[in-house]
C-alpha cells in the first residue's frame, strides 16, 4: 500500500474514523462484559485477560432473559407476520386499482406514517377490549403500526409485476386467494421480506408499548425486561454489559442472515 498518495491516506483515515465511531461502543460493552466486577473496579480499561465469563450466567439467571427472549420472538414474529400479510392484501387491490377509492385509501396510509401513536386512547381501548396485559392482545396492538410502511412498500412492488400475469391466472381459473399465495407472494418475496423485517424491528425496538400495555414481568419482551434489569442494577456494569450482549445475540444472527437484502432494499437496489 502506498502511503505517499494523499488521497489514499485520507480514505484510510476516514474509513478508520467510521469504524471507530461504530465499533468503540460495541467493543467497550464486549470488553467489560468479560471483566470480573473486581477487575472493573480496579482497572476497567485494561483488556480482560483471562476473560471472566461468569457475568453471562448471572445475567441470564438474574435478568430472566430466557423467557423474555421467547416473548420477544412471539411478539415480533406474530405482530410483523400479521402486519405484513394484511399489508399485501391491502396493497395488491390498491396497486391494481381493483377497488374504488384506491388513491384516497393509499393517501390515508401515507398520512398514517407521519402521525404519532396515540398511546393514551390505545391504553383505554386495550383495557376495554381485553387486550391489556396478555400476549394475543400485545400482538394485535402491534399490527397497525406496521401497515402504513408495508402498504407503501408492497404496492410499489406490485405495480412492477406485469398485469398480464393476473389475466393469465384468472383465465386459468385461479381463485383470488390462490393467486395471491402462489403467484404474487413468490414474485414479491424480496419486498415481503423487507416489509416483515422493518415491522419486526418496530416491535423489537418498542419500549413504550411494553410499558403501556403490559404489567406482568412474565410477559415482558426483552426491550422492557432489560430496561428494568438496568434500573435495578444501575451500577453493576459488568452484569449489564453481559445482559446487553445476550439479548443482542439473536438479532445479530438475524441481521447477519438478512443484512444483504436489508441494505440492498434500503439502497433501492432490486
Amino acid at each position: 500500500m502506498k502511503f505517499s498518495n494523499p488521497l489514499r491516506v485520507r480514505r484510510l483515515a476516514s474509513g478508520l474514523l467510521i469504524a471507530l465511531i461504530f465499533l468503540v461502543p460495541i467493543v467497550y460493552v464486549i470488553m467489560i462484559s468479560l471483566e470480573s466486577p473486581s477487575q472493573f473496579a480496579a482497572h476497567p480499561m485494561q483488556p480482560p485477560l483471562p476473560p471472566h465469563i461468569g457475568n453471562f450466567g448471572s445475567a441470564w439467571r438474574q435478568g430472566d432473559l430466557g423467557p423474555e427472549i421467547i416473548n420477544t420472538i412471539i411478539y415480533a414474529v406474530g405482530g410483523a407476520g400479521i402486519s405484513t400479510g394484511l399489508s399485501l392484501l391491502i396493497a395488491f387491490p390498491i396497486a391494481r386499482r381493483l377497488i374504488r377509492w384506491s388513491s384516497p385509501l393509499f393517501q390515508w396510509f401515507v398520512i398514517g406514517l407521519a402521525l404519532p401513536i396515540p398511546y393514551i386512547p390505545l391504553f383505554i381501548e386495550a383495557r376495554d377490549l381485553g387486550l391489556y396485559n396478555n400476549r394475543i392482545g400485545y400482538i394485535l396492538l402491534h399490527v397497525e403500526p406496521g401497515l402504513p410502511l408495508g402498504v407503501i412498500l408492497l404496492s410499489a412492488f406490485v405495480s412492477s409485476i406485469p398485469r398480464e400475469l393476473d389475466e393469465a391466472a384468472w383465465l386459468d381459473g385461479a381463485s383470488y386467494p390462490r393467486y395471491i399465495v402462489s403467484f404474487v407472494a413468490p414474485l414479491a418475496w424480496p419486498s415481503i421480506v423487507i416489509t416483515f423485517l422493518y415491522s419486526l424491528l418496530f416491535v423489537w425496538n418498542d419500549i413504550i408499548g411494553p410499558v403501556v400495555f403490559l404489567a406482568s414481568p412474565s410477559l415482558f419482551p426483552v426491550a422492557r425486561g432489560v430496561y428494568s434489569f438496568y434500573s435495578s442494577n444501575e451500577s453493576a456494569y459488568t452484569l449489564l454489559a453481559a445482559a446487553v450482549m445476550i439479548v443482542s445475540a439473536p438479532v445479530a444472527i438475524l441481521f447477519a442472515a438478512s443484512q444483504k437484502q436489508l441494505l440492498r432494499a434500503t439502497m433501492g437496489i432490486r
Binding site: I18, Y28, I90, N205, T266
Partner: protein
C-alpha cells in the same frame, strides 16, 4: 379480495383512526389512570393548564422538541451523506463498513441506550476518563449541559445507517458522465456537491429529511431509555407519556399534550411534503 382489504382496514380503523379521534375526546376529560376515579368532561381545562404556569413543562417541552428535531435532522443528513459518499464503493472495506453502520438500527433502543449510558457513565466510563483528562467532569446524561446533545448524538448514531443507505441509492442514480464533465470544467469538490450531487438526489433528500423529521418528532423510545425526559430532553411525545403514565397518571392532560403533538406533526409534515415535492419537480425538471 374484499375480505382481505376489510380485515386490514378494520385494524387500521380500530387501532389507528379510532384512537386518534378518541385522543381528542379524552383530552376534554379528567380521565385518570387510577382505578375507581370517576371521569367527567371538563371542557378546555386541560388546554388551559397547558398554557398556564400550572404546568411549566409545556413551553419548555416545545423548545426541547424543536432542538431535538432540528438537531437530529441536520446532523443525520449531513453525516449520512458524508458516510454515503465514503462508503458507496464496491470494495470489501466499504461493504463491511456499510453493514457496521447499519447494525445499531437492528440492536434496538434498549441495547443502544444502555450501551451509551455505560459509555458515558459519570462514575466509571471511557467518557469519564477521556473528558476527565481535560479537566471536564460531568454527569453527562444526568446534566442539563450535556443531556440534549448526547441524546441527539445517540439518536443519530442509531439511525445513521438507514440515512446512509438511502443516500447511497441516490448516488448510484447519478450518471458518472456528469461528474466527468464537471471534472473537465475544473469544478471544485464543494461546487460539485452543491450543484450536482445534492440537487440530483432530491427524491432521496426528501425521504431522509421526512423520515428524520417525523421520526424525531413522534418517537421517544430512545429518550425514555436515556433520560426519561429529564435534563431538558422532555420532547412533546415524552412529556405526554410521562403526564399520562407517570406518577400523576393524568390521562386527560396527557391526551391534551398528544393533541398538541398531532397539531405540530400535521403542521410540520404537510408543508414539508409539499415543499420537498416542489423542490424535486424544480430540480429534476
Amino acid at each position: 379480495m374484499w375480505a382481505g382489504v376489510g380485515v386490514g382496514a378494520a385494524f387500521y380503523v380500530m387501532f389507528g383512526i379510532v384512537p386518534a379521534v378518541a385522543n381528542f375526546v379524552v383530552s376534554f376529560t379528567n380521565y385518570s389512570g387510577f382505578p375507581g376515579t370517576p371521569t367527567s368532561f371538563v371542557g378546555f381545562t386541560n388546554y388551559n393548564i397547558l398554557f398556564s404556569t400550572q404546568a411549566p413543562g409545556f413551553i419548555s417541552s416545545i423548545v426541547a422538541t424543536l432542538i431535538f428535531v432540528v438537531g437530529v435532522t441536520v446532523v443525520q443528513n449531513a453525516v449520512g451523506l458524508a458516510l454515503a459518499h465514503r462508503l458507496q464503493g464496491e470494495g470489501k472495506t466499504a461493504s463491511a463498513l456499510r453493514v457496521l453502520a447499519f447494525f445499531p438500527i437492528v440492536l434496538g433502543v434498549t441495547v443502544v441506550g444502555i450501551t451509551w449510558l455505560l459509555l458515558f457513565d459519570p462514575v466509571s466510563s471511557p467518557a469519564q476518563v477521556v473528558f476527565g483528562a481535560f479537566g471536564i467532569h460531568s454527569a453527562f446524561f444526568g446534566a442539563n449541559t450535556w443531556a440534549m446533545t448526547l441524546v441527539i448524538i445517540v439518536q443519530v448514531w442509531q439511525n445513521l445507517g438507514f440515512t446512509m443507505a438511502v443516500y447511497i441509492g441516490g448516488l448510484k442514480t447519478i450518471p458518472a458522465s456528469i461528474y466527468e464533465a464537471a471534472a473537465l470544467d475544473g469544478v471544485s469538490a464543494w461546487q460539485r456537491l452543491r450543484s450536482i450531487t445534492w440537487p440530483m438526489m432530491a427524491p432521496m433528500v426528501s425521504v431522509n429529511v421526512l423520515f428524520a423529521v417525523v421520526g424525531s418528532l413522534t418517537t421517544y423510545n430512545l429518550i425514555y431509555v436515556l433520560t426519561d425526559g429529564a435534563f431538558g430532553t422532555n420532547t412533546l411525545g415524552m412529556f405526554a407519556f410521562n403526564t399520562a403514565f407517570g406518577q400523576s397518571a393524568d390521562l386527560g392532560l396527557g391526551a391534551a399534550v398528544t393533541t398538541a403533538l398531532f397539531v405540530v406533526a400535521v403542521a410540520v409534515a404537510i408543508p414539508l411534503v409539499a415543499m420537498l415535492r416542489s423542490r424535486e419537480r424544480r430540480l429534476l425538471a
